[in-house]
Symmetry: C2
Subunit: 307 residues, 2 copies
């Protein structure tokens, strides 16, 4: 097995990728990251899921908090608040440096791909972190409070509004970032991280050429379920599934991914009864690094069996 591709959102997905780079040579791992959550805030280009990957893989993430950097300070945000600036999105002092640098590099014509590679290189990250696209794709939440930008729904409103639908503005015309299609086609295994299928994985699948590449690759596609006992480990997956009228179980997720999926790694206590899909079980909760490595290895084992 040489190349391993992971389609991933933020926190949950980053845990699997961290497990992977401790399970195999990091140089073999390519994380293709959701950028549907990217947004401009105070003029700064923020890429929440890419940031989470960068912080997690470089050992800088605040694991307890689930976002941002360990040892972060907050002088910027309190000065901003004092000036009456918008403070609903938490911006630590070190975190702001990444956003300012990214925004400045984008303004002088560098791509999100190049900027992400630059930061990953500075921080000694051995895996490749690729944005799904350098085009603007915006995840928009159709809710009972109207149409909301993803971060407004997710952070400012703490996922309180009931979701009626999700759309990805700009996706139809978007093209994958350089290296994305190539990595999928050349992979020996494609993993779908235990990220929220509707919010964090669907944006990737909505980029037309990514979807096509997933149907063309000879690699088996294996998802790791974000559900444990009908609950999400973190985030609004279970609430969302209920609002979309779906049973909160692995069958709903497997049916959602449909023909793309060859294998599904689910929690030891759970079931999935979708014909034609190969299922493996393992304890999927990833608290420790050992957990992450164990789950990553189990996903690779399932993929190897399907190859």
């Amino acid at each position: 097995m040489s190349g391993i591709v992971v389609l991933t959102g933020g926190v949950g997905g980053a845990k699997l990728v961290l497990g992977l780079i401790h399970a195999v040579d990091p140089a073999r791992v390519t994380a293709i990251v959701n950028t549907g959550d990217d947004f401009r805030h105070l003029g700064l280009h923020i890429s929440p899921d890419i940031d989470t990957l960068l912080y997690t893989l470089s050992g800088k993430a605040n694991a307890a908090q689930g976002w941002g950097r360990e040892g972060e300070s907050w002088a910027f945000l309190s000065a901003l608040k004092e000036l009456g600036g918008e403070d609903w999105f938490q911006l630590g002092d070190m975190d702001v440096a990444l956003h300012v640098l990214r925004t400045a590099m984008l303004a002088r014509g560098e791509s999100l791909t190049a900027i992400t590679a630059h930061v990953a290189g500075r921080w000694g990250i051995g895996a490749k972190i690729l944005p799904m696209s350098n085009d603007s794709v915006a995840t928009m939440i159709e809710s009972d409070e109207g149409l909301l930008e993803f971060q407004r729904y997710f952070v400012e409103k703490r996922c309180a509004p009931a979701v009626r639908g999700v759309r990805f503005d700009g996706a139809e015309a978007s093209v994958p970032a350089p290296g994305v299609v190539e990595a999928i086609l050349a992979a020996d295994a494609v993993l779908i991280a235990p990220s929220n299928p509707w919010f964090s994985v669907d944006p990737l699948l909505a980029v037309p050429s990514i979807h096509v590449a997933l149907t063309q690759t000879r690699a088996p596609v294996v998802a790791v379920s974000p559900l444990i006992g009908g609950q999400a480990v973190k985030g609004p997956t279970a609430k969302l599934m209920g609002e979309l009228g779906l049973a909160v179980n692995n069958d709903s997720i497997a049916l959602h991914y449909g023909d793309l999926l060859d294998g599904f790694l689910i929690d030891s206590g759970d079931a999935c009864n979708v014909p034609g899909l190969t299922i493996d079980h393992i304890a999927t909760l990833m608290n420790t690094l050992d957990d992450k490595v164990r789950v990553a290895k189990a996903a690779l084992t399932l993929a190897a069996r399907l190859a």
Copy 2:
């Protein structure tokens, strides 16, 4: 005497304005501030002289350092450095909040005038702080190392290059910011702060309608000299004068301002022999708040005598 206008650059000028707002009702004071030093750095709009006025008049300035905020922290800058970002311009965590907010407000169409008033209001500053212009005017240094943006010359190169000339790109087409001409015409006294005449005051005089208003106002125009015993208290004034082939004395400064000037407040130990100009002497060094109030009062006294 009702309205008092001060034409000012950064540090030295801010000291005089601070003295003024403790000498008279701050509501009578309008500081018209050099924006020729404004620049974009890492995509952020930085207005060094306006910032110095805002920090000084709100009691937030780092007096010992001469720039930036007291109690500043530096997590942003060290994270930026770690990412290979440009770090020649010192940006404190709280300082960055002001730049980010200003840049975002400019991007959504607000004027530098409105933004400055907003910040001054949040910080309870009683005096009016007006940018000289909302148009872009860029102080450019013609040096033996080529043409340099002002901050590159001043901060990055620490004023080391020899100056051959100074120009103000965009000045000819610029118009004064709202309130500037009105304040000058309605003033009972116009003071020129002890800022660098060539770098910090000339940009204001290069805005055509400001120059005209200064010739039309009935108010006496009184400058406070930045020289004490042939030396500048701070900054490159004396070095610059030498490089421009001028004698480093008050005569050179008075002749530079020419007909605009009615009175000149110079240090007790110094002389100025320019025909037709009224001279007063005082100890012009402004270390303590008492010094600043004393110099401000002396400038007002000279102006009152000339009215």
